[in-house]
Amino acid sequence: MNVKNILKSNAIWLVFILEVIIFAIASKGAFIRTGNIINISRQVAYYGIASIGMTFVILIAGIDLSIGSIITLVNVVCAFLMVNLGVNMWIAILISLLLSTAIGILNGFMVATIGIPALIATFASQTIFEGASYLISGGRPISGLPETFALFGRWSVGIIPVCTIIMIVCFAIGSFILNKTYFGRYFYAIGGNEEAAELSGIRVNRMKYLIYALSGLFAGLAGIVLLSRSNSAQSTVGKGLEFDVITCVVLGGVSVNGGVGRISGVVAGVLIIGCLTNGMILMDVSEYTQMVVKGVGLAIAVGIDCLSKKRQTT
């Protein structure tokens, strides 16, 4: 591999470095102070975790719009179990993660067995479970979580937040699945060509169940981290989060056409969005402007992906 290729395949990291330099200069150094960097790592943790499941889904040319709702539901259910029913923290977490995984399996059922397009199937469950979380909470925030629950979102080991460690472990697991296990090979094969994958002996439908279940599980974990950070459960907390996560994944070079992408790219995507949000807040840019900037970023990222594909074919 020559220098040009190395630069090309890591272009996203160059963008990230450039971004950091710009914010560092514009904020007169405030952006790169240790405290702020720790802060960013804490802020990105929950969507970083959720982005791993989404990476798998997009790799097989699917989409999961339900993860925002899953995050909300996990917030509400976990808090409800602990606060209203007095359930032990660990058991509440276990039930919440099982629930989020079950929702993923339901998505898998709709997509693989029934054959509903992923966009519509997961949109339906998004609506269902957003509604369900309002039904459970009655629209009121649930607070008064156990002291120790702060572990996942607010405690640190030394200076490194626990949620950052959880995210790093999740990224490592995601990368391991994609690169070292046969499931990873299957995902890339299905994303490249579903029919040929089936005819090569991959049980494509089973893999879809697995992938949507994993997407649900990672979203559930993200929900736990977010609940711990915000210390109270609200039925609006996960609204629209799926778009942030999709932006990170696509920005990280995972092709929406399926079959192409790496976890390392997604890490960069998560960091870029995280720094963008933090940097703009630091510089007092309004939330609406932030939305515009993120949307433009998403369009450019996908545009570059599509253009490079076009150039390959002519």
């Binding site: 296990t181 299957y186 490249g192 005819l199 002996g201 991959i202 192409v260």
Partner: protein, 506 residues
């Protein structure tokens, strides 16, 4: 014949990063002639015609239309100057009518309204000019592939095309449709249209063309007057080496005592009452017309489509594979007809393709044992001579013949005992065909069995030990090696043999 040329390509060169697709190709097309363009896969035919249409911009060289030189060809310029290309994939919209497709993108309008009636009248005229019977109101999705192609041709003629470039036009067609297409080509020639006809099937080139241009490895080789050329000569020119025979010799290796696969009254997926036996070391040919139910039978055996009734017996045990996975684990493999859609995983590496069916087997607690993965790929790369710089190369960058080898390597790695080939050499050039045949021989010589579906009569006769013929989902005849005869097979395939005769061969 006039010495003026309608289309001239002079010293066309096209470089891609790292590859030279065309080194130096010259082509001259006379008015009202059919020029056959032949060359092995990867010789640069497709790139060359894309240069004509402006889809690809040559690195150097000149393009002249009617003597006028064009600095830079664009798709619009090509169309305005009467150049049209009929690709293998059509640009029709299935949900629109034949007439609407003919005027796609430039509808006849009456104010802001589409003048459907005028379009239908014009379409009827265009179809009449080609002497084809298509109802302009018919939705294109209801038309056969042959008619859809005719709409493409009619569209080109309607837009005043003077040069028609046809890329493997017979590939998707049935025998009857091919005949109709030939008639249209001949009619167009009479009407003064110049045609560049690209095909792997040399008999078509001989039948239709006035002259034949051969290119090899991106370079112009020669142009011959068709009546003066011979098949052997053309093959030699295309491959650049002497081809002694088309089908390699095979050691007799059939074990008549060992029935590997037996079908008893198997029905399903459109086929009725299939009965056949395949022995160890045997190549059983499956003949018939396109749509006779051969691929459908393969799908049932391979578990990708369910059977409705009957028994499938593998090595003496009844099996009922309900998915390709189950069939693969039983030692059955399928090399499908449509390599790019169903066979190879184009965006995956050679290594991943070869190991795909056995990843679970070579994994330890889900973790792939990468040393085995690598050595597997290297083993089959060597054994079946897949030409590639490394096994990490993506399969989409390989030629058709090498892609086919990768698919075969995958099934060898999976230790398949019965290998079903559906049109094993479709779209594969002459040189690579011979290699595929040799590999099929290796398979049966090592005791494996092969079921080979083929629409190429010569291939069927040249490669099979025995031939079973299907027509409309039923078995119509069986021929032993000494009975092989193209006319008999054709007769069974068209189901024009009376029932009694068909019955006696069972």
């Amino acid at each position: 014949m006039s010495e003026e040329y309608v289309l001239e390509l002079e010293h066309i060169r096209k470089e891609y990063p790292g590859v030279v697709a065309l080194k130096d190709v010259t082509l001259q097309l006379r008015p009202g002639e059919v020029l056959g363009l032949i060359g092995e896969n990867g010789a640069g035919k497709s790139t060359l015609i894309k240069c004509c249409s402006g889809a690809v911009i040559p690195t150097s060289g000149k393009i002249k239309i009617n003597g006028k030189e064009f600095e830079r060809m664009t798709p619009q310029l090509a169309a305005e100057n009467g150049i049209a290309i009929i690709y293998q994939e059509f640009n029709n919209v299935g949900e629109l009518s034949a007439a609407e497709n003919l005027f796609l993108g430039r509808p006849i309008r009456n104010g802001i309204m589409i003048d459907r009636k005028a379009m239908e009248e014009e379409a009827a005229k265009a179809f009449a000019q080609l002497q084809i019977k298509i109802n302009p109101k018919e939705l294109v999705k209801n038309l056969s592939v042959g008619y859809q192609q005719m709409i493409e041709i009619a569209k080109a003629i309607q837009q005043n095309a003077k040069v028609l470039i046809m890329d493997e036009p017979s590939a998707p067609l049935t025998t009857n449709e091919v005949e109709n297409m030939f008639k249209v080509v001949e009619l167009l020639r009479e009407q003064g249209v110049s045609i560049i006809y690209i095909s792997h099937r040399l008999e078509e080139i001989f039948r239709l063309s006035d002259r034949i241009e051969v290119i090899r490895d991106g370079e112009y080789v020669t142009t011959l007057i068709t009546p003066e050329a011979t098949v052997d000569e053309l093959i030699k020119l295309m491959v650049g080496r002497e081809m002694t025979q088309k089908y390699p010799e095979r050691e007799p290796c059939i074990d008549k005592n060992k029935v590997v696969l037996e079908l008893k009254h198997v029905s399903g997926n459109g086929d009725k009452d299939m009965n056949l036996k395949i022995h160890a070391g045997e190549v059983l040919g499956l003949g018939g017309l396109v749509g006779a139910g051969r691929t459908e039978l393969a799908e049932v055996i391979f578990g990708s489509k369910p059977k409705e009734s009957g028994q499938i017996i593998l090595n003496g045990k009844e099996i009922n594979p309900r998915s390709p996975r189950e069939a693969i684990d039983l030692g059955i493999a399928l090399v499908p007809e449509d390599r790019k859609r169903h066979g190879a995983l184009l965006t995956n590496s050679i290594k991943n393709n070869i190991n795909m069916p056995i990843y679970k087997r070579i994994s330890n607690a889900s973790v792939i044992r990468s040393a085995i993965e690598k050595s597997n790929a290297e083993k089959y790369r060597k054994e079946i001579q897949i030409k590639c710089p490394t096994v990490n190369q993506l399969v989409k960058n390989l030629s058709g013949g090498n892609q086919q080898k990768v698919i075969l390597g995958k099934w060898l790695a999976a230790d398949s005992q019965l290998i079903i080939f559906d049109e094993p050499t479709r779209g594969i050039d002459v040189g690579a065909k011979y290699e595929i045949y040799k590999l099929i021989n290796d398979l049966v010589e090592s005791g494996r069995s092969v079921l080979m579906i083929s629409s190429e009569m010569e291939e069927l006769i040249g490669m099979s030990d025995r031939i079973i013929v299907l027509a409309e989902g039923e078995m119509t005849g069986e021929l032993q090696k000494e009975e092989f005869d193209a006319d008999t097979i054709m007769a069974y395939a068209s189901a024009i043999v009376d029932k009694e005769m068909g019955g006696s061969t069972r």
